[in-house]
Amino acid sequence: MANGIIERAAKSTPAPFARKIKGLSDRAIAWIFITPTIIILLAVNIFPLIWTIWLSFTNYKANRPNADVKWIGLRNYERILTDSDIWLTMQATAHFLIWTLVLQVLIGFALAWLINQKFKGNDLWTTIIVLPMMLSPAVVGNFWTFLYQPQIGLFNYVFAFLTQSDPTSFSMIGDVALAPWSIVIVDTWMWTPFVMLICLAGLRSIPDYIYEAAECDRASKWRQFWTITVPMVLPFLMLAVLFRGIENFKMFDLVVQLTGGGPGSTTELTSINLKREAFEKWRTGYSSAYAIILFVTVFGLASIYVKALNKVKER
């Protein structure tokens, strides 16, 4: 059968081409096919990476292409790791990352669990809940700035109504203590539906017979939740955390629209800080070192996390 296919393929190959590849080994043919891909990968992935690593050891500035480029060794790395402002942006990123993940996982899972219960209007509620994630982050950031306005913002009015306080007495995006929470709230509002959908897929993948068996064994609902639902949804939940973690580590558009990184630098996440260094201050060498440090950090953390995820899946 296989020989027949090969013979047919050989017959249908144009004679000049057949003559040209005649005598080439399988390995050579394989190289011919994968070489263009390798060249493209080298050009768009590997070369920029190596170039960035090289730049990170120099004082190069992209807005001064004709200026002398000096090799300055590890000075950029030293500056970054000893710069208190960089550590503040790291703290701001950690605050944002941890709280958005915690809130999105808790609320997303709770919503998924509720939606998974069969009730009237189930589909309609699912559609309504997922609406925020269909919007553009720039649009979301922009309209939340209005919602957060102390004088006209709905958020302030609702909060003031519930607490019987003055709506102009606080400014979510202008107050140093509240601004980090303002971006957590908006990101949670926007992306909790995503976590919910992944959790819902996990919940719906659990076969009913497992719960039926547990019922037969007289396991309580609480027990079923902790011994069946949570372990079986955990790989999905971890996947959602991975996706959201990566997304929020590189968060830019939403926060730029909402707070611009302020007040002060309280919401200046690393991606915003990096962009300012690279394309506003034009410290290309410095920002290359910064990018390498972030890359190594994210790559390291993601590798550890993926290993943990695989272990959970194997259980």
């Binding site: 807005n63 007495s169 140093v176 990184g261 302020g262 002060g264 630098s265 506003e280």
Partner: protein
């Protein structure tokens, strides 16, 4: 025969079509910020199109992105802009990096004299190095930070008497920054016509240049200097002098006491909105907004007045705004672009420019006996232009601006550290920039 005539006509048309563009009709693109004066310039430029036969296109970028977008365009050698109305602080970069063409020979050949323009605008918009007769732009739009106030509120008998009782002087245009703060404090949180109003809308924006353009109006007047006047780039003791520290503390105090809630990231457009919607008694802003305020149905006419930035204990200055018009060296239509500048420099065009809402920098226009009374804000414009001071115009302008934005915003808005610490850190940042530039 008919066919022969037709072919002759077609050939003639083809020849005419081929020759016409070589004579005229270049496509020129002028790049500027997206704001009211830009619309006035479109209107004005129709005259140039009619007279020269060239076609004008305009690329206007909103202020928050203007510097980013246009400096990237220049740094990448882009051909988008033939003419650039770039910010005054870009002149060093434009000249040293070869983005702008030098205009001295062109000015000489066309009898355009820099002596015909307001001296501060020549220094601010055209010269590089500063104080030398090397011109890279024609002063195009004079601008300066000044103040707008609610004249109708200031004239209320009840408010006047209450103010006099509290401060022992008339509620009037402030003569000093201290008086300005008193007035702002007086109006803060006050109920007027059933609405809560606030003292002053000031610049606090973090992302581009906002807070720097605001805070300098306090810093200069308390004694801040960019460097040692006798030793360039010697910063310590000048940028962070006692006067400078007091100026920064003043600006923070003004922000803390007397601005509307939520105004932590405000620049030109937010201040205009706050003022026009009747939220504030005082508004800091560039003079370009005054024609719009005067024409506004809510706060315009006699309801508003204008005054220059008040003096402080260390002097009397105001932050220079405005721009010069330059020919981009990467343009393929440099001759046509120079033609535009020649046309724009004519006194009658400059007069029309003022009438359309553009602030002409030509002395023949602003020193005309009728100028000061031509608009209610004209005298304030003249008084303000007489006291201007500008930010660094070095080639490393962007690198110098960003740390100032950072340090000042962190102290004034976020309350991080002290004024002295903020300015000391700024000295370190700027020193590093000048060291990188090889100037220290």
């Amino acid at each position: 025969m008919k066919f022969k005539r037709l072919t002759t006509a077609i050939s003639a048309a083809c020849v005419a079509a081929t020759l016409a563009p070589t004579a005229h009709a270049d496509d020129l693109t002028l790049c500027w910020a997206a704001w009211d004066p830009a619309n006035a310039l479109i209107e004005l430029s129709k005259d140039f199109e009619g007279k020269s036969g060239h076609n004008m296109s305009f690329e206007f970028v909103p202020w928050p992105n203007f510097a980013d977008r246009m400096l990237n365009e220049l740094n990448s050698g882009g051909k988008l802009c033939d003419l650039m109305i770039g910010d005054s602080q870009w002149i060093g970069l434009g000249a040293e990096a070869g983005h702008y063409i030098k205009l001295n020979d062109f000015f000489d050949a066309n009898n355009i004299s820099m002596g015909d323009f307001i001296p501060a605008t020549v220094t601010g918009y055209s010269e590089w190095p500063k104080g030398t007769p090397n011109y890279w732009a024609l002063p195009a739009f004079g601008d300066v930070v000044g103040w707008t106030y609610r004249k109708d509120w200031f004239n209320r008998a009840d408010l006047k008497s209450e103010f006099k009782g509290k401060y022992g002087r008339e509620l009037d245009v402030p003569n000093s920054l201290a008086e300005l703060k008193d007035i702002a404090e007086f109006f803060q949180g006050r109920e007027i016509d059933g609405k809560t109003v606030y003292g002053a809308a000031i610049y606090t924006e973090r992302g581009s240049e906002g807070i720097t353009m605001g805070v300098t109006n306090a810093l200069y007047n308390f004694g801040f200097e960019y460097n040692n006047p006798n030793k360039p780039y010697d910063l310590d003791g000048f940028v962070n002098s006692d006067g400078a520290v007091a100026g920064l503390e003043y600006y923070k105090a003004l922000y803390d006491c007397c601005t509307p809630p939520g105004s932590s990231d405000w620049y030109m457009s937010e201040n205009i909105d706050a003022y026009k919607s009747g939220q504030v008694a005082l508004q800091m802003n560039f003079a370009f907004i005054w024609p719009g305020v005067h024409a506004d149905s809510n706060v315009g006419g006699d309801k508003s007045g204008y005054f220059p930035n008040p003096a402080g204990p260390g002097g009397h200055f105001a932050q220079l705004g405005g721009q010069g018009i330059s020919v981009v060296s990467y343009s393929d239509s440099k001759d046509a672009a120079l033609e535009y500048i020649k046309w724009f420099a004519q006194p009658e065009i400059q007069k029309q420019w003022w009438e359309l809402g553009g602030y002409s920098a030509l002395r023949a226009v602003v020193e005309d006996p009728g100028f000061a009374s031509s608009q209610p804000y004209a005298q304030t414009f003249l008084d303000s232009m007489a006291i201007v001071k500008d930010f660094w115009a070095e080639p490393s302008y962007a690198s110098l601006l960003l740390p100032m934005q950072d340090r000042v915003h962190k102290y004034v808005i976020a309350g991080e550290g002290t004024a002295k610490e903020a300015l000391d850190a700024l000295v370190d940042d700027w020193t590093e920039v000048f060291e990188d530039e090889g100037k220290l």
